[in-house]
């Protein structure tokens, strides 16, 4: 595996505020890497440091083998960025916006028109290409900003909330484009997002940031298994024994509820290691158990677990 981004104790202060705190991580080529964290956690500052837009206070970072501090312009020629706000020129048309950036990225003159056309088509903007962006919906602006990030075929993409403001169909198309860029074209994608469902589905690995600190790093499923002990478990028991089963499970779970039909119980907050004990207790009580289904924890569970730990620590 080839590391495209390496940070070592990367730190950035703004006055007394520590926006990024001793961040050390590696991102591999072709990976979709999620940067998760609430507002102000340091995601945007991390992207700015990685793209050579901000200089670190201490620590170091290398991206695509280059130093963002010393070789920022050279690096940015090879990266594409979708910023938190679309940052489009609303007085210009969609085509003019893309043409401007094609020239800034110094694409060959002969290729500019065709490349712009191709991006407009790929992001379903061809019909409105010559209209001023000021009249576009939020979703169209987001798609145009995204097409601008892809315009010069960068090796590395930094995407901040790429599906923000998009309807489900457009969001699916955008996610497909990101997956295509990573899986088929071997581009590396750093995805800063609040959308944990997208992150779970798309990211190979994620880093969770809290107050600029890295609090978790790994594959979403592994993180979930490691960090989230309490699970939601579905039990199917004999209908006539549901009340007894509910009483028994109360000793093991944070809460237990029975469905309207009566045969299915949902135990929430049941620690993974105690599931066999709970099943054993039901058996001892003579309850006939037909099915036990522990739900896999999601990235959302990881996120809230980490956030809760951080809040308690604070």
């Amino acid at each position: 595996m080839e590391a495209v981004i390496q940070t070592n104790d990367l730190t950035r202060h703004f006055g007394d505020i520590v926006a990024v705190d001793a961040l050390s991580l590696e991102i591999q080529r072709g990976e979709i890497f999620g940067l998760l964290g609430h507002n102000g956690a340091g995601k945007t500052t991390t992207v700015r440091l990685m793209n050579g837009v901000l200089n670190p206070t201490s620590g170091n970072v290398r991206v695509l083998g280059l130093s963002p501090v010393e070789q920022g312009a050279e690096l940015r020629r090879r990266t594409g960025v979708l910023t938190e706000t679309p940052a489009l020129y609303e007085a210009l048309s969609a085509r003019a916006n893309l043409t401007l950036f094609a020239e800034i990225y110094n694409l060959p003159k002969a290729d500019v028109a065709q490349r712009v056309e191709s991006m407009l088509a790929q992001f379903n903007l061809a019909d409105r290409a010559d209209e001023k962006v000021g009249g576009f919906s939020k979703g169209m602006k987001q798609r145009l900003a995204l097409s601008r990030a892809f315009l010069h075929e960068p090796e590395l993409l930094f995407l901040d909330e790429p599906t923000s403001g998009l309807d489900p169909i457009a969001a699916r198309q955008v996610n497909d484009s990101i997956l295509h860029a990573s899986r088929d074209e071997r581009r590396t994608v750093v995805l800063a997002t609040h959308n944990l469902r997208d992150a779970q589905q798309m990211c190979d690995r994620v880093a969770v940031l809290e107050h600029g600190r890295l609090v978790a790093l790994g594959k979403p499923a592994e993180l979930a298994r490691e960090l989230v002990q309490a699970r939601t478990v579905l039990f199917h028991v004999e209908l006539s024994q549901a009340a007894q089963a509910e009483a028994t499970l109360q000793d093991y779970a944070e809460s237990v509820s029975t469905d309207d039909a009566g045969g299915a119980l949902t135990a929430q907050g049941l620690v993974y290691d105690r599931i066999p004990d709970a099943v054993h207790a039901l058996a001892i009580a003579g309850i006939r158990v037909y099915q036990v289904s522990p739900q896999e924890p999601t990235l959302e569970d990881v996120y809230f677990t980490l956030h809760q730990v951080d809040t308690e620590a604070s």
Partner: protein, 273 residues
């Protein structure tokens, strides 16, 4: 240096400027007033002999206090009306004309530097390979080039207006003079540079186009001093004075724009977003 990127950014900024009423209204109105309305009005007023008769004594004192070089210059003109009009159009309005490049550069730079931040488009730009200096240079050129074009066009228009409107009184084509050639070619570009430099200094301290425009409006004060100084008889413009004054102005521009280039860094810009 990526000139293609610089000129793409200049074209973009000018396209946005053309669509902004807040920028275009002063850009059109100020030159029209200074280059057309004022000289036309002055020619009509000074052509009114009855009105001029009321000021005969004052004019005589005024002419006596003129430097010898200017007295020699207006000597070929016979009547007081001719001399007064010549003085007004050639000397008194010269400082006023400098407002055109100053204001043009200032208002366009306000839109280019502060407007970009206000419209929240700067972040996409600073994530591109364009260097800090290329972005800075594009913004300077965006303001400086149109300021020079309008100044040049304005001076041609001013020449036409004064020669035509004053012809019934002065009875000859007298414009441009050496003073105005120096003013247009040497001082006006430097004045545009001063308008730019003022905006570069102001832009880092304000958040909106309007704030920037109002604050940097103070840059016209030197022009007001020149104007009042001439009317009060304290100083008179001459080609030599303009050459020296222009040199000083270019020096100030150079220092301020160099300082601006050093402080125009994407890290600083993004911290203020």
């Amino acid at each position: 240096m990526n000139w293609r990127a610089i000129f793409a950014l200049v074209r973009k900024d000018l396209s946005i400027v053309r669509q902004s009423k807040a920028v275009m209204i002063p850009i059109i109105m100020v030159p029209v007033i200074l280059v057309v309305v004022l000289p036309l009005g002055a020619s009509l007023l000074l052509g009114n002999e009855a009105m001029m008769a009321d000021f005969t004594d004052d004019m005589a004192v005024f002419f006596d206090n003129l430097p010898e070089s200017i007295r020699d210059e207006i000597a070929p003109y016979q009547s007081e009306s001719q001399q007064a009009l010549y003085l007004l159009l050639v000397y008194q309005f010269a400082p006023l004309f400098l407002i055109v490049p100053l204001m043009m550069a200032n208002v366009i730079a306000a839109d280019s530097f502060v407007g970009e931040r206000e419209r929240k488009t700067l972040e996409a730009l600073i994530h591109t390979p364009a260097t800090d200096f290329e972005i800075y240079a594009s913004k300077l050129l965006t303001a400086w080039i149109p300021a020079l074009i309008v100044t040049l066009a304005g001076s041609v228009l001013y020449g036409l207006v004064v020669n035509v409107a004053a012809y019934p009184i002065i009875e000859r084509v007298f414009f441009p003079t050496a003073l105005w050639v120096v003013l247009i070619v040497w001082v006006a570009p430097a004045a545009a540079g001063l308008g730019l430099a003022a905006m570069v200094l102001v832009s880092s301290r304000v958040n909106t186009f309007q704030e920037a425009y109002q604050l940097s409006g103070l840059v016209v004060l030197p022009v007001v001093f020149l104007l009042v100084g001439q009317f009060a008889g304290l100083l008179y413009l001459s080609p030599a004075l303009l050459i020296v004054g222009g040199l000083v102005l270019w020096g100030i521009d150079g220092a301020l724009l160099w300082y601006g280039a050093r402080s125009f860094q994407r890290g600083e810009l993004i911290a203020r977003l």
